[in-house]
Amino acid sequence: MVDSSGKPLDAPELLFHKKPSNPPIDMNIHEYQAKALFSEYGIPVSAGYPATSLEEVDAALKQLPEGAVVVKSQIHAGGRGKGTFKDGFKGGVKLAKTADEAREYAKAMLDNTLVTHQTGPEGRKVQTLYLTEACSIAHEYYLAVVLDRETAGAVIIASREGGVDIETVAEESPEKIVRVVVSPALGLRPHQVRQVAFALGFEGAAFKSFSRLLQGLYQMFWDKHAMLAEINPLITTEEGDVLALDAKVGFDDNAMFLHPELQVLRDLNEEDPKEIEASKYNLSYIALDGNIACLVNGAGLAMATMDIIKDFGGEPANFLDVGGGATEEQVTAAFQIILTDPKVKGILVNIFGGIMQCDIIARGVINAARNVQLSVPLVVRLEGTNVKEGKRILEESGVSLIAADSLADAAKKIVDAVKAAS
């Protein structure tokens, strides 16, 4: 396999893994929303309607043509078809031969919790269904555009093996995958479209339909600052039409300020309430399973703090980066968010001040400790800009806390304090 410049590629699988479950940096949307976007860009999709209640399911069924209907759970996770609901009902995507059957499936799925290999054992509550016309499938393909960190460009990935896990195809038969690197400055060129269309074996009218579809997909990817736009499967029907049977699109959160039309598509039901609250204050927070919370400035130091808590025999309860320009308000909010997690049995504040000044952190810690009923041990370690002022504020506050000097000292103190308290 070679890329568009003829250079051999040895690690195409690197590109298939940009499908994070629910990352704070990317914004994901549902299939029905992605298909609406597809339609705007002339990408053919089968007729379909979303529904959040049984009344809306009935309305959707009336709009759809007579015949078989596919009922699809709308959650931000893959593996829906093979998933199982918590009450034992199997399959988050069901083919119904009649409208009555579709209604039965809808009833079983709506407000039920679906567990797939991407949701984790807690699963996701299905609050929206998507009902689409069933298609006669002649062949299934895979098609995606991803933003690739190594080539610093968009990469088209396609395969004749669609409707299956593409990562498995990449592993077992990488020669079945075509990969074309698109220069950001030049955009997708006609010869590149042809390269993909020929590689997938399209001919005649389907060749032209596919070419238009790929151009539309790339244009949408580029215009909307997408990180991933994936169609799995892309199909040809018995009638010879080419269309997107599924749709998965994720966007660059950094660019969402340019896209108010996409911001309204955000589904807060798909996100951890603590992470939503944190994002309001521009804090980067990720809930984990342990009992020692950390509040750190800088992503690398926050990760290292989690690592060292683990090294000393503790378990981190979260990742929390208060960032560079954090205000007293942000730090207070960070503290409050940490303390809403009932698992938290101790808190480690680790600040090395660059942009972030230690006195600001110190004031935030003191204010937060006063505002909330702090009943767990708190270890604070400050170093950097205005560190003397920061330490003075902590000492004179009268708030009960354990001061630490080095990161190792801090980690040891919080792990010991939590063990002593339990």
């Binding site: 699988e13 690197l14 298939f16 893994h17 940009k18 499908k19 994070p20 629910n22 990352p23 704070p24 940096i25 933003l147 960190r149 190594e150 610093a152 460009g153 968009a154 990562e167 950001p184 400055a185 580029w222 600052h225 660059d252 950094n254 660019a255 300020f257 340019l258 980067s284 990720i286 984990l288 750190v296 400035n297 800088g298 992503a299 690398g300 130091l301 926050a302 990760m303 290292a304 989690m306 690592d307 060292i308 808590i309 683990k310 090294d311 990742f319 980066d321 960032g323 560079g324 320009g325 090395f352 001040g353 660059g354 942009i355 170093e383 950097g384 800009t385 080095s406 990161l407 190792a408």
Partner: protein, 293 residues
Amino acid sequence: MSILVNKDTRVVVQGITGKAGAFHALQCLEYGTQIVAGVTPGKGGQTFEGKVPVFNTVVDAVKETGANVSVIFVPPGFAGDSILEAIDAAIPLVICITEGIPVRDMAEVKRRLDNKDCRTRLIGPNCPGIITPGECKIGIMPGYIHKPGRVGVVSRSGTLTYEAVWQLTERGHGQSTCIGIGGDPINGTSQLDAVRMFNEDPDTDAIIMIGEIGGNAEELAAAYVKEHVKKPVAGFIAGASAPPGRRMGHAGAIVSGGKGTAEAKIAAIEEAGISMAANPSDIADALLRIYKG
């Protein structure tokens, strides 16, 4: 005693009249850095802190002051264009501090940097900057933790770099130059670029490389070290405890599909004969186990 920047470096600050730009320009001036110009479109003709002339464009600033390094504190929506402006003004070294630049903008910038006619090196974005202790600080790092010396430090993380530098300084070891390359998935200078420059610098005797999960920059640098570097090198990788599939703050810090794990990076580092720090408090000691200064 350094790479890339020294006491003769002449710096232009893009975004000097903004809150972050003004604050850090002042801190750099106080450190002794030669800030010779600022750029804020529409504010040309003003003066920053009574001594630094402000220009409307980078080209004007370079023409009038001979600035040869630019540092960017422009908001994320405009920072990509600011980098391109500095490249067009043929500035040899551009340091972009801004966090949160759309990835698409950085893809465009990266292609521009890769053009054969482009002579600019970019450090960042989303980075703390670069410092040659005692001579020149360009960025947001606290100056006082550093000390002139012969250890080169390169890192994807800002505050974790300060941690390592502080450990070195406390143990009496100074730094030749410290570079923060930033936490974004698409950036200018890589771990490998920095390690190569330190390796070729006669005033650098030892190197510390601090990485984190995601991507393969550390693996590439480790392979280079194994092949070409005779100087003692120590390393640390943050994120061993991070769950896969979640981005840990930095846009580039994600383990996905089993790629970019701390385990793989640590294995590559150890395979290259680099001294691995057991935890973030052990970074300086990991170097001092193999380097006596």
